[in-house]
């Protein structure tokens, strides 16, 4: 239940339910209806939101997380007044600026000015206010030199920039943001992040829907996790992020055999690979900071001298964040007879940024490590949970200090 009201509550959602009814056999014409006036179309019900209650306070950056189909967009649309609710109530105090989708109502055949003004009015500005903000909008979007151009001649990046600029210039009290941050080029994306950070610091109230846990951690004060229309967790962003990763990846027994496309000459095969926590227990979800161990059980089909076993820990972007090989430590890993099994282990401090990882194991003949016997990819994946998520690939301890008025001696430049 939402807490009893205080003046600081800008959004209160009380026991909201929303069910979509989709007719099983949709009659699309008046003719069909006229020919079969008595036929009742059976409806299929999809409960999208079940008994949702929460509140958002003034100045809060509130996250709504959940995977596709969890109901988060439906919830946002209910907040924005696009969908009506079946039961329950929603209170909104203050002007709302929905970023459900950018550039809604833009007309490609018109130039920037007409579109900016109309979009501003759509968002609740008066025409005078909308016109007054035009210059600020066009400058923020960095499109001054293209303002006479029709929108159809804009690149998609320019289009999105214009749309985003309009939306943030509305000066709403409450912003509803639906994963629009991943737009535009890197520089503009950074600008968007800056704007949201600034807005947060200004005490604007922002409701932010995402499935990117890094930005959830980075921006939000509090967050809500939706799963199948229910509130699974409401609290600190990092708790929500942990739960999210757990729900989405942790319980997936994604032990795909990955027998296809193994590569190598097959003189050795990885039979099994897994990851253990510091207690030696197999896990699929591991917190940051522990000592973790990747292990691979290998079978040799012929006699092999000094094989090189390597592991590549790939993140979701297929970047090898950590690479380790037996050739590093001991040049000679020994002789293995045909039919023999061996276990290779790689232990390290878990400094990986929160997210999902795929280990890739390779076995190679002695030498450069390129003469492969086996390549074992996608065997399993594991998830790293943690509060950090500053955006780096790894989170290693960094000593940070600031010095006021550093003395001249510390400012030696060059030689």
């Amino acid at each position: 239940m939402a807490q009893p009201s205080t003046a600081a509550q800008l959004i209160v959602v009380d026991a909201v339910n929303k069910t979509f009814r989709v007719p099983e056999e949709r009659t699309h014409t008046l003719k069909e209806r006229a020919l079969h006036p008595l036929r009742r179309t059976r409806n299929q019900s999809f409960p999208a939101l079940k008994d949702i209650s929460f509140d958002v306070r003034r100045g809060e950056f509130f996250g709504i997380a959940g995977r596709n189909g969890s109901g988060k967009s439906t919830l946002l649309k209910c907040l924005a007044g696009i969908y009506g609710v079946d039961s329950g109530r929603i209170w909104m105090h203050g002007r709302l600026s929905p970023f459900i989708e950018l550039g809604v109502g833009f007309n490609a055949d018109l130039a920037a000015r007409d579109n900016v003004v109309l979009n501003g009015i759509m968002m609740g500005l008066s025409p005078r206010e909308a016109r007054a903000r035009y210059d600020a909008v066009i400058d923020f979007a960095e499109l001054r030199e293209f303002e006479e151009l029709k929108l159809k001649n804009y690149s998609s990046g320019m289009y999105v920039r214009l749309a985003f600029s309009v939306a943030i210039q509305v000066d709403a009290d409450i912003l509803l943001v639906d994963e629009v941050l991943a737009v535009g080029d890197a520089a503009f994306a950074q600008k968007c992040f800056d704007v949201f950070t600034r807005m947060r610091d200004e005490g604007r109230t922002i409701v932010f829907v995402t499935h990117d846990m890094a930005s959830l951690n980075r921006f939000c004060h509090r967050a809500l996790l939706l799963e199948k229309g229910h509130v699974v967790h409401l609290g600190e962003p990092h708790e929500v992020a942990d739960r999210y990763l757990e729900i989405n990846f942790g319980r997936d027994p994604e032990a795909a055999g990955a027998a296809e496309d193994r590569g190598g000459d097959g003189e050795a095969r990885v039979l099994e690979a897994w990851i253990e926590d510091e207690h030696g227990v197999r896990q699929t979800s591991l917190p940051q900071g522990q000592r973790i161990t990747l292990r691979a059980l290998v079978n040799f089909t012929v006699d092999v001298d000094d094989p090189v076993a390597s592991v590549y820990v790939l993140n979701e972007d297929h970047v090898a964040v950590i690479v380790a090989t037996t050739a590093q430590e001991n040049e000679r890993s020994g002789h293995y007879a045909a039919g023999e099994n061996a276990q290779f282990s790689f232990s390290f401090e878990n400094v990986l940024a929160p997210g999902r990882y795929n280990p890739l194991f390779t076995l190679a003949h002695r030498g450069t490590g390129l003469d492969l016997m086996d390549r074992f990819e996608g065997a399993f994946s594991f998830v790293v949970t943690g509060p950090g998520a500053l955006g780096g690939l790894v989170d290693i301890p960094v000593d940070v200090s600031a010095v006021r008025n550093p003395s001249a001696t510390s400012q030696k430049v060059g030689a």
Binding site: P4, V12, F20, L30, I82, I100, V104, G124
Partner: protein, 315 residues
């Protein structure tokens, strides 16, 4: 109820879902106006000849009808003074019908075509059909200037009854708006509304005093089926099917376009043409077509208002 609401005292009223109308009427108007203005601007400046194309449609139709009915069939002859300025009468009716047709046929797909808007942003849904009617109204204003220029060049003298124009256009607009609301809401669920309305619109065209003047219809229908015979060198006539023909005539008169077009011809072009009251028999009978206008508007509003909260989900 009150005990349940207790923790939420001081929060004011909960938000309502999507609706047809709004409490913020200035936003409603600004939205309608700006959408219509952009649309109009597009048509006006969208192509090289801009407005000319907009005017071409009624003018071409006028040209064809004029050549066929006035120059060849000479429908204006034998009507005495009522036949004067027949060209201007015809053009006026065509322009009014073009407005009606643009506003209604244009509205059919309007809500569905703006799916993107409806599903992504909260705004009073009624803005959509209203803006379509408003664009048609902009066009009508310009076209009426052309009609009146045409009339004056043809020799029509300025008359005090020109002041009736806003009233005439007003009634027509209310009628068109009612149908626009009805069609745009129905089209969301019934996609065959479009061809149905195309046909119906054609029927209305012929059942309105555009080509066939009211006087002609009255002559043929009002008294019954005319039989003429000659006996002993004297022409006799008598009527049969009086009741049937009378009912048909009353149905014809229920069409609000009849009185609107007729009054336009009377007040704007030629006083010798029957006015709406004369056509109906009495001014009191004007309540019948006006009742149809109000009824259609109320029905359209009711249907649209009912479908507005769910339209984002049903699209």
């Amino acid at each position: 109820m009150s005990s349940e609401a207790a923790p939420y005292d001081g929060l004011g009223r909960p938000i309502k879902g999507p609706r047809a109308l709004t409490d913020d009427w200035s936003r409603f108007w600004h939205l309608t106006y700006n959408i219509a203005r952009n649309e109009f601007k597009l048509r006006f400046f969208g192509s090289a000849l801009g407005y000319v194309w907009q005017l071409m449609r009624p003018l071409l139709l006028f040209g064809v009808l004029y050549v066929f009915f006035v120059l060849i069939f000479k429908v204006d002859k034998g009507k005495g003074a009522a036949g004067h300025f027949y060209g201007a009468q015809l053009l006026g009716s065509i322009v009014l019908f073009t407005f009606f047709s643009e506003a209604t046929a244009g509205a059919v797909r309007s809500v569905v075509d703006r799916e993107n808007l409806v599903r992504k942003i909260q705004f009073p849904r009624m803005v959509i059909p209203m803006s379509i009617v408003l664009v048609a109204l902009f066009n009508l204003s310009l076209n009426l200037v052309v009609v009146m220029l045409f009339a004056v060049i043809a020799g029509v003298q300025p008359m005090l009854t020109w002041l009736e124009l806003p009233l005439i256009v007003g009634v027509l607009t209310v009628f068109a708006t009612g149908i626009a609301m009805l069609l745009s809401a129905l089209f969301v669920s019934f996609r065959d509304i479009q061809p149905i309305w195309d046909v119906f619109s054609q029927v209305l065209f012929y059942a309105s005093p555009v080509i066939i003047p009211v006087e002609t219809v009255k002559e043929k229908l009002a008294y019954g089926k005319l039989h003429v015979y000659v006996s002993n060198g004297v022409v006799h006539h008598y009527y049969t099917d009086v009741l049937l023909y009378h009912v048909l005539y009353r149905i014809y008169l229920l069409n609000p376009l009849v009185v609107v077009f007729q009054q336009f011809r009377h007040a704007m072009i030629n006083h010798a043409v029957l006015n709406a009251g004369q056509v109906l028999g009495s001014w009191l009978a004007l309540l019948e077509p006006l009742g149809v206008v109000v009824g259609v508007f109320a029905l359209g509003f009711w249907v649209f208002n009912r479908s507005a909260p769910l339209v984002a989900e049903n699209l």
